[in-house]
Symmetry: D3
Subunit: 232 residues, 6 copies
């Protein structure tokens, strides 16, 4: 499938995408049964961004960013570009000019299993990137790759059109066909957590709220007063 | 000692703890003879926090955060929770709900040789965490561990009630029985540094303030003008 | 060359140094033909600093910061101190007091293939450091090294007087003798990018601006509509 | 798909699998267009093994090896077990007893994005493992996962029945449906390399055998005698 | 406790030490309830060694191996020297000459949270070392440390006289006072495993030997034939 | 200097090169004042090789091995090829066919700040490689670099014609102009070590041979009998 650009990929409805973005990575990841989390070496280049978008996937040769230019043409409002080189690389594939081009198409951010640069400008522009490295080392435009084919990025298989959720905690992928169900589960989880939060803030203990004491005792947990232990 | 919660552990006086916190990690570490520094892969999830507190220690199974709920009940004002899994792990053992519970008990922060999540919310709440990783990957509640037993966290042996000092430079542990003496040494160091600082700001050189020139010459240090060297 | 301090090293003109600083790392690195970039594990201790200066180089023994005091005396306005230990180390060789001394001499920042400490104070002082680690672990003053000799720092050979450019993207070295030519190339590059930026912001595609479509087709890039692919 | 064991997965013919194993990782990877290589942090626990087999895939919870026992039952002669935990882990999921069980079913080896143990015994048994770590730290049997579902292991998407090739260079996956074509291409490549090898052994240069001189000159490569360069 | 050499530390009986060595790391670690395993970045410099010995502990300054010479005098037959610098270091603290000295005192091996050198000679001499790194970079003899004080090495608290077990799987520490009980548990474990091994070699499944099928079904594990799944 | 091949570079006499090779890395590194050691992440692909040779240096683009073919033509008996990409890379730039070509020219080995492949075949051929990684991932031939220009490899500045010494401990560079003097110092060191070795083997302590006891006492080292310490 190398050298292919797939056009016209379907996306999840923007309302669903936006709903997932509002929930954030930790909640969405839990809500879909703890799957889809990208590896934690992908870090945001600046703090505080929280987005969701439909994946435009890019598979490219190491040290070659040509296909990102190709990918921009396939982007539309609400997309997130997800990039994985075919072998490990920390170079800076992406910078401020490409960001300008994506902003013009209302792309929401970038996830890249490699390096990025112009990070100060990207922060000023408010264009968030989750990357493995920051590096000013540029790339060439010699080898073609593919756009909107299935890729593996930071340990997760990603299809074009899957929903990407990203915030300070990292990046999570939701399969397009499951996005609506996951949104419902995430929102239910948020409501339930709101109640728990209020009780915790009031000083109740998780031990009591979740009824953990009996099961802990069954497992053998013992309480010993300091001074009654040799080593304590 | 697995499966044990030690209750009623003694702490250092809060005035001593607070004094150490005001000095910060680098000063305290120097003042106690350069011991007690936790490994530098523990990093704060946000910049600018500077705390000290009495350690409530938690030893737990990898990928299992059950004992943190148990530990909260043992916390009191001025404590810092210190967590080490029994084998290496980067998962997210701690998030915003547990932070709410700790804040309700006036816990000052968390040190964890593993991962944390909900980092944006933790920053908004002003609840600082020093961790090895940020990860949204949750944990289970299947296996019991221990609270307030001696643990090793990021390369340091820590007893419950030891004083933990943490800031942007990292984390340092002061043995409870030495806390008062270390505080005095740290404050003395700060006073001495204030004088040195003023002289350095005025343009004096460390070479002169510390009287280093003679010893450097004894060791064989030579000054050569540029142009008189072949390679310079 | 161990145990040598070379005095009176020539620098590039400050106007040239300042010009390079205004361009930033990514532009300067491209402008000089993609050479001189230090390895990306050197990271700024705080965001937003962008500097250039003439290198005062320091070669020192691992865990020994004595030569930094020696180096300060060799510094003048517009310098950047560049430090490499003779074997790998993450300890904290540099802190607030040394920064005060450098600020008094109008040094612009520090690049160190090792650790630094007092990072919160350094940020408050506005004295930027690019380092491999943050660590409160201090160093000794037992062994002499050299100042203003050629060193290798984070993978780059650096001569005293070379121009160091550093920002959120990392650190780049420009040979002193090439600084003026590189500045011209960098400024030319900036002007060209300004035009491209405007076109990208207006929604034009890089594919068209750079005329990439034909060459991509020559390399065999194919466009396939979603649904016409088996795997897409 | 969690909690599912897929039975009766088809495999490629053993003659094709064996042919790929004889070619080795580097040749097979090149022959299929440089795709399918697992990340290089997977290393063999001992040197000299070279195998190929049909993938039995295992997705399991971190620190939990229960599903390996489930997977053994699904194995047949010529299989290779491929394991990925759902979050990163270095613990020792696999040891000598499980190897005995796999040997009894004529399994050829194991690929695991995690840790293994009993490595001396595994070497004595001649049961090769490619793993991310060696660790004696055992795992629990608390959580179910899945067998023979699609997984991502060390950066590659792997389907049950895909062909795994592994040797001292690492691990490569060949899609089941492409195995026969890849084998032909690999064997063709080997034949061509045999001719090249003979010429290189006889002292001919790659520059001449591959006809590189003209293209290098076109790109601007210059030859300069030592002494005619300032820096050489 | 810096600058102290504790003499005459008690050891476990050599018969107990030898028994633990015969069991190996994985078995001993399991037998004592999965505690005491040193971090897996400690690797043997050559394959095939399997030892146990009584710990002579060494705490030393980074890049300074002076205290190893001091420690040798404290060694006796059956000891293992365990070394941890007070801050992280990869330098080569130990080489062939020190090994000769230890061999003369019938020391069985070395565990060091740092680097070693002369590894080819050490292999020829049959003196095993478990280390974090291999490095020819030597160290100085300027700063005193301590011998036979409690240390933390690779994440484990170690007392002088504790039993160290080490093989290709890594390193494990057994508290001196628990050594005899752990040996009994380890030998019992070995006997039980011998029975299980025979059944596995005969082709029985762990699923049946350990009676796992019912509990797996209770947890919800489902078996689905290939072809009856959409994604399988 | 990109795109340049420097021909006819002078080498040190082969007798000197061979003498250095016989001494090995640790001895040579000490003999030249502990400089010139390459970073310890360069590891031999197999154990037991010990070589020295004159450096043929190669600077090449990341993921592009074209210049290795160019370099072979510049090699003669007794050379070692030293390769550094212009940005970090772990791909497999070198394999068995290039090794055949180098063996035909009596090249002794390869040092590469990147990856290598065909490692089993290279071991069979007895062609040693010190590399940062093992990877079957091939490279392209699109971009020119330079041969026999100064490079930085694994943290050391290397000139063509410098002497490279490599063994199981790592890799060290000796400047060509210093090779003869370093050889003499290394051989003197070996003779002195032979005497020390004999005394250590006979059971004498380094403490006595090197006369360390007095200086240790001056620094404050105290001996305390077990039982007379609270913590010992």
């Amino acid at each position: 499938m190398s050298g292919v650009v797939v056009t016209g990929c379907p996306r999840a409805p923007l309302t669903v995408v936006d709903g997932l973005g509002a929930c954030g990575v930790a909640t969405v990841h839990e809500a879909q049964g703890r799957k889809g989390l990208l590896q934690s070496h992908l870090r945001p280049i600046y703090r505080g961004a929280q987005i969701a978008g439909s994946a435009v996937t890019v598979s490219l040769a190491p040290a070659d960013n040509w296909m990102i230019h190709v990918a921009v043409e396939q982007c539309q409002e609400g997309d997130v570009v997800v990039i994985a080189p075919t072998s490990p690389s920390d170079q800076g594939y992406f910078g401020e000019l490409l960001a300008q081009s994506m902003i013009a198409r209302k792309v929401r951010g970038l996830v890249i299993e490699a390096g990025t640069r112009d990070t100060a400008e990207l922060a000023r522009l408010g264009f968030p990137v989750w990357s493995k490295a920051v590096s000013a080392q540029g790339t060439v435009k010699e080898t073609i790759g593919s756009v909107n084919v299935p890729i593996v990025c930071a340990g997760q298989a990603i299809q074009p059109g899957d929903v990407i959720v990203a915030d300070d905690d990292g990046v999570c992928v939701v399969k397009r066909g499951e996005a609506e169900a996951v949104l419902k589960a995430a929102q239910a989880r948020e409501q339930k957590e709101a109640t728990t939060r209020a009780r915790l803030q009031a000083g109740e203990l998780g031990l009591d709220i979740y009824g953990m004491r009996e099961r802990l005792a069954d497992k053998g947990l013992r309480y010993v007063a300091y001074g009654d232990t040799k080593e304590g």
